[in-house]
Point group: C2
Chain length 204, copies 2
């Protein structure tokens, strides 16, 4: 082993700092927003020095980017596994509109990617571009499920359901009430029914 | 006339400053967002002193409030005038999804009320409360049009179309592409058709 290899102790310490920074960023960006959160507050919450923060992230943009990348897998609809049935795919399409009961002590904050696109308006900025890519991938995943469910025009249905999802989360954020999920789900159910055969089974 | 009455000259000058401040706030909040816009930048853009700005607005919150109030009338769907026919009401319901071609030199910025709710997360903050009130009024106006159009359940249709609108503007903002307006309009057309009689005329 080369002597330039960091010792296990140092590496463990380094990982811990990065994780604390990302955890603090996730909590503060979610609670307050990106622009309302300063680097001073982030270092204090993560219990790291500014120097340590900049060792892990080149600046706030990279930290926002890492925060968003960390949310992707938990928020994107699933890829379609080979064994998924048409019925399961249809259920997954509607499941994106069923949210767990919100924490009553915290404001509803909707979708971090929509929020980032609002806070970073420049469409050429890496953070805005990441939000746009995510939103495109969101619709693409729904289209994959719609295809497996047997929908007539899965790409259109994917885009429609993605729009309903974005409407539900944006409206829930503004109203601070989760009821829009059920409104979106009822429209989504009608669209899915119309895209499938008249007996509710796949059209092909 | 009392001597404490301000002279016409002084009053005209005062109104000019207020208008310049509001114009600068509207331009900067729209282009950059609320939290990315500082008071220094606002005073510079409005060509007023900080003292003058604080003579007209107690602080940034009041300025954001005034900016949003200034947008309301141009963005809310119309109230239903007594002479409006069912057919006209139906057309108005769909007209909210037809946007003028965007300025290609500026990012799409969607709905300033949704954006303000994202930037000011606290649901008890006056700015967030104004956004929530606006979004509720938006659905109420659509329900009024839906009632005149002859929809079976106008309140539900109003809430559904408001959600579609919010989805279209939120998604357009993230993707920086206006195509979501047409997607929302096609869903809205289906919902309106279903809420009216089978021949497309009012159900009652």
């Amino acid at each position: 082993m080369s002597t330039t290899e960091p010792s296990p102790v140092r590496r463990r310490r380094g990982r811990g700092a990065r994780e604390r920074i990302l955890k603090a960023a996730t909590e503060l960006f979610t609670a307050q927003g990106i622009n309302a959160t300063g680097m001073e507050q982030l270092t204090a919450a993560a219990e790291v020095s500014k120097r340590t923060l900049y060792q892990h992230f080149s600046g706030k943009d990279e930290l926002v980017h890492a925060f968003l990348r960390g949310m992707e897998d938990g928020l994107l609809p699933p890829q379609v596994p080979p064994e998924m049935t048409a019925r399961e795919a249809g259920e997954q399409l509607l499941a994106v509109f069923s949210w767990p009961p919100p924490d009553p002590s915290a404001p509803l904050r909707g979708c971090p990617f929509l929020n980032a696109a609002v806070e970073v308006p420049d469409p050429d900025h890496p953070v805005h571009r990441l939000a746009a890519t995510y939103k495109t991938e969101f619709a693409r995943r729904l289209a994959g499920l719609a295809r497996r469910a047997g929908a007539r025009d899965p790409d259109t249905l994917g885009e429609q359901l993605a729009l309903l999802y974005d409407g539900a989360v944006a409206r829930s954020t503004a109203l601070n009430a989760p009821g829009s999920g059920a409104v979106a789900r009822s429209i989504a159910t009608s669209l899915l029914d119309a895209a499938l055969g008249p007996d509710g089974r796949p059209a092909r």
